[in-house]
């Protein structure tokens, strides 16, 4: 016979005002198997919990029902109390007589009646509960960081400094991301490379960071605590262990006129090239699409010049496997492609980007401003190299645009446009900056003051309105915009036009996310678990996100999110074992017919196709098996199993039927 204790909470007035708790206690005490029933004002309080513990001991209870608020609130609290008293926590159930009773009914008699029924259900269930033990999963105490921009760098350094090994995978030949190519950053106008490169060097030299550059994540197997990552190291054609980074190869290379990726097309580079002077690793890479030796078997000058003998034309992609316990995705962003259609997102034909040389985007302008850029920091028109005296900056190109397909605000453009006007003015003293904007979004610390400085002190002219069309006439760009505040069309003859293009997720992110079962929103940004309370976690245990990959954001926010993701990783890696709630699915392998409907249905890919073998190694039968590390206890397999081999611990068929029968 069961020995169940029922504890009915008043929840102050929340329950007691509508439910007659004394009456409830009297009635439920009569239920078969109930050993004792008491009520108390605040069951979740210390005295309340003490009461539960004492009763468990004194009455030798083997099951507890707490009739109170929703289990979302205090189930864990009460289960801990039971555990302290020596009762398996999974032998305690909560009957919700607040949200499901006193808060939604006004008639006292009916509410009391219902409360009794709800407790009857829980008592019937508890009688059938099994004692369960938390599941332990081993943890590989290493982390993977995908993406070597400022967010990835911050996350990697935090995790590594906390004592864990980090594997960093970066697609480009050097880490640094977009920040390495910026000139100065708002609102301090710090030199971007000056503040970033020390961090890059730290990553490159950190004893616990294993850096794979010019590499991509090829495949992911496993689950939280136990990921196996396959990394493709793309062929660099340069042995970075032999190479000394002297740069003679790049100097000698005869093919010098290739568009530089780092300069976003504003400058050129040779076929064998160093990504940029402060690259980490400071090693060159060969562009196999243009290199004469690799495409036609001719040349070979760089190998001849190389004193260290580091050039290897026979290099091939390599696949490497790494085991990690947690993954951080920090894949960053790219800019909206203004001139052409990119999948479902249309281009802006009306601005002439791609048609007129002097219409460029914001990252291209950064390279013109940058002291280490293709023009050595002098602002020059791409068409004729002259200094532009009138520069028009257009905000919201691609973003906040239902017609083109990107409805969101790209967040950073208002700030960097103000920055652009200031840097332009500092370099071209008699130049005039014109900004066409819709709104000014400058919500950070010292941000609004920064924008006002651009207008009030550095003389930038701001017109509130959009630009409809740009045409070219006699070497000047005719920009047709409007100022809605004055109610007038505004036409500017500009020497240079800079378009603030929207931030979009980097190419290939959707495919990468699929490998990790991480969702993306309709724009391709990685999906957080909860936009308010869990911004760096995903719905896949052990995988975290940070930076612009999650949504448009600036450097301070990217860094903050990176540290947040790092702290989440540290929680995951904090012990050699991970504890998981045991309320997961279980498959009776004796009964399983191996139809694998559960395998198809499981949204978490938590069912495995397993084989049962005898001692001789012969196959006895096939069966489905639940991976305790991945199962989230949703119960889908239980509902699709035709042989009733699948069941959910904590919510078994037996427990559920008992609840239903108790009502009939």
């Amino acid at each position: 016979m069961s020995r169940i204790g029922v504890f009915v909470c008043w929840c102050g007035e929340n329950i007691a005002r509508t439910v007659d708790v004394d009456c409830v206690v009297d009635e439920v005490a009569k239920l078969p198997g109930v050993r004792c029933a008491v009520n108390y004002k605040y069951m979740c309080s210390d005295p309340g919990q003490t009461m539960i513990r004492e009763k468990i001991a004194s009455e030798k209870l083997d099951g507890v029902v707490v009739a109170s608020c929703s289990p979302h609130m205090h189930l864990k609290t009460f289960r801990k109390a039971a555990q302290t008293a020596g009762l398996n926590p999974y032998l305690l159930e909560v009957a919700n007589i607040r949200e499901q009773c006193s808060w939604v009914h006004s008639d006292r008699d009916e509410a009391t009646e219902k409360a009794i029924e709800l407790i009857r259900l829980s008592v019937a269930k508890v009688k059938n509960n099994h004692a369960l033990e938390p599941i332990k999963v081993p943890v590989t105490r290493r982390a993977l960081v995908v993406g070597g921009g400022v967010a990835g760098i911050q996350a990697a350094l935090d995790i590594a400094d906390a004592g864990y090994e980090v594997v960093m995978v970066e697609r480009e030949p050097s880490i640094g991301g977009k920040m390495a190519g910026l000139s100065e950053t708002f609102p301090t106008l710090d030199c971007s490379q000056c503040i970033l490169t020390p961090r890059m060097v730290d990553v490159g030299q950190h004893p616990r960071i294993k850096l794979y550059t010019y590499s991509e994540v090829e495949a992911v197997e496993g689950f939280v605590g136990n990921f196996e990552i396959t990394i493709r190291q793309k062929a660099r054609y340069v042995d970075i262990t032999k190479c000394t980074g002297c740069g003679e190869c790049a100097k000698a290379c005869p093919l010098k006129k290739n568009k530089s990726e780092f300069d976003f097309g504003m400058g050129t580079r040779s076929a064998i090239y160093m990504p940029f002077p402060q690259a980490v690793p400071a090693r060159p890479v060969i562009d196999k699409t243009v290199c004469a030796m690799l495409t036609r078997g001719k040349c070979g000058v760089c190998a001849k010049k190389c004193a260290a003998g580091a050039i290897n034309y026979e290099d091939e992609d390599k696949l490497v496997k790494e085991k990690v316990g947690a993954v951080v995705l920090a894949t960053g962003y790219k800019l909206y492609s203004i001139g052409k259609q990119d999948g479902p997102v249309a281009g802006y034909g009306e601005y002439g980007y791609g048609k007129y040389k002097d219409v460029i985007d914001s990252l291209q302008f950064e390279r013109l401003l940058s002291a280490s850029g293709p023009t050595n920091g002098e602002v020059k028109r791409p068409s004729d190299g002259k200094t532009p005296k009138n520069v028009v900056f257009i905000s919201c190109v691609g973003s906040r645009d239902n017609a083109k397909g990107l409805t969101y605000c790209s967040k950073i453009c208002c700030m960097y446009t103000a920055k652009h006007t200031m840097l332009y003015k500092h370099k071209v003293h008699d130049g005039q900056a014109h900004v066409f904007y819709m709104d000014i979004r400058s919500a950070g610390k010292n941000y609004d003051e920064f924008v006002r400085r651009a207008i009030e002190q550095d003389g930038a002219k701001y017109y509130r309105g959009r630009v409809s069309k740009i045409t070219e006439q006699d070497g000047k760009l005719i920009v047709r915009g409007a100022d809605t505040l004055a109610g007038e069309p505004v036409t500017i003859e500009a020497d240079l036009v800079v378009l603030a293009a929207a931030m979009r997720p980097a190419d290939g992110v959707t495919e990468l996310a699929q490998k990790l079962n991480v969702g993306c929103d309709q724009f391709g940004f990685l999906m957080e678990s909860h936009p308010k309370l869990r911004p760096v976690e995903t719905n896949t245990a052990g995988v975290y996100i940070c930076g612009a990959a999650q949504a448009p954001k600036d450097i301070p926010e990217s860094v903050a999110q990176a540290s947040a993701a790092a702290s989440k990783v540290q929680i995951t890696l904090s012990s050699t074992e991970l504890t998981r709630e045991p309320e997961i699915a279980h498959i009776d392998e004796k009964m399983c017919a191996a139809c694998f409907r559960c395998y198809e249905a499981c949204p978490y890919h938590a069912i495995e196709k397993a084989e049962v073998r005898n001692r001789k190694g012969e196959l006895v039968k096939r069966t489905a098996r639940v991976n305790a590390g991945l199962c989230m206890g949703c119960g889908t397999c239980v509902s699709v199993c035709p042989s009733k081999s699948a069941d959910l611990e904590g919510f078994t068929e037996q427990e559920t039927y008992a609840m239903i029968e108790s009502l009939i």
Binding site: G349, E350, K355, K469, T471, E472, Q473, I478
Partner: protein
């Protein structure tokens, strides 16, 4: 190839030189036209300006006639007509209640006849076929291809070419051996139906077009709309007088140029009935 033909009021009126030209040109290309019997005005500017229902009903009537007369494809050489026909079709496709209402108003059921503009017809014949048929290539002729407003806008309605940087007419002109100049006013408005009621508008806007064409080295302008033709051609003298500039620019219908390249005479194409320009 046989196509249905919806001339619209202009091609039977002041702009019947356009009709003359396209009939001669199509004839040379083996395209025969069957005029829609008892067609009515599409409503042009006036209908959409003053009454939305009417602006859909008048084209709907014509679309119903097309169905009745077994016409799958209908060439409407005036861009206002072709746009209004497409617009009415689209509105009725998107709103079933509206389609029913229109069927009652026009006492027949409008259908899904494909509406073609002048350039569509040449694309159907095929650039390669046109190139082969060219007897007198228009070498050294620099043409500014002027699309005007309604060939490419609104893009969801007309679904033709690119609304910011169209190239369809340019490709045809190039196939004739001429040079299509790159210029800025391909799709800027000429002033449309304001010719009589607000002449200043037409003079100002059309002047900008001619000035830009000239500034980019064009010797002549090619159009595919009778309204654009009137504003740039018939009004050219007034523009020259108002702005003190001499253009002398011939305004060709696209079919004029195709016809000339095929070896037809200017007289046969009605080019002698144009007002302006003889410098090309």
């Amino acid at each position: 190839m046989n196509l249905g033909y919806y001339p619209g009021c202009s091609l039977h009126g002041t702009s019947d030189d356009y009709q003359q030209s396209l009939k001669a040109c199509f004839g040379a290309l083996g395209v025969s036209l069957t005029e829609l019997d008892d067609w009515i005005c599409c409503g042009a500017t006036a209908a959409h300006m003053l009454n939305r229902k009417l602006s859909i009903a008048l084209p709907a009537r014509n679309l119903a006639l097309a169905v009745r007369q077994g016409c799958d494809e209908l060439v409407a050489p005036c861009s206002m007509c072709s746009m209004q026909l497409k617009k009415a079709q689209r509105a009725m496709v998107q709103d079933a209640a509206l389609a029913e209402e229109m069927a009652t108003i026009v006492e027949a059921k409008p259908g899904a006849t494909r509406v073609l503009n002048l350039i569509d017809v040449f694309e159907r014949v095929g650039l390669e076929a046109i190139k082969t048929a060219v007897k007198a290539p228009l070498k050294d002729l620099k043409v500014a291809c002027y699309y005007g407003c309604l060939l490419t806008r609104p893009p969801e309605v007309v679904e033709f070419d690119d609304c910011e940087q169209p190239e369809s007419m340019d490709r045809i002109v190039e196939a004739l051996g001429a040079t299509a100049v790159a210029w800025n006013y391909k799709t800027e408005c000429c002033g449309a139906g304001m010719t009589m009621a607000n002449e200043e508008t037409v003079l100002e806007l059309s002047h900008k077009i001619l000035a830009d064409a000239a500034a980019h080295g064009a010797q002549c302008v090619a159009v595919a709309c009778p309204m654009c033709h009137v504003n740039l051609d018939m009004k050219q003298a007034a523009i020259e007088a108002r702005y003190g500039t001499k253009y002398g620019m011939t305004i060709y219908y696209l079919c004029d140029l195709v016809g000339l390249a095929l070896g037809l005479t200017p007289r046969a194409l009605g080019i002698d009935r144009h007002f302006a320009g003889r410098n090309a």
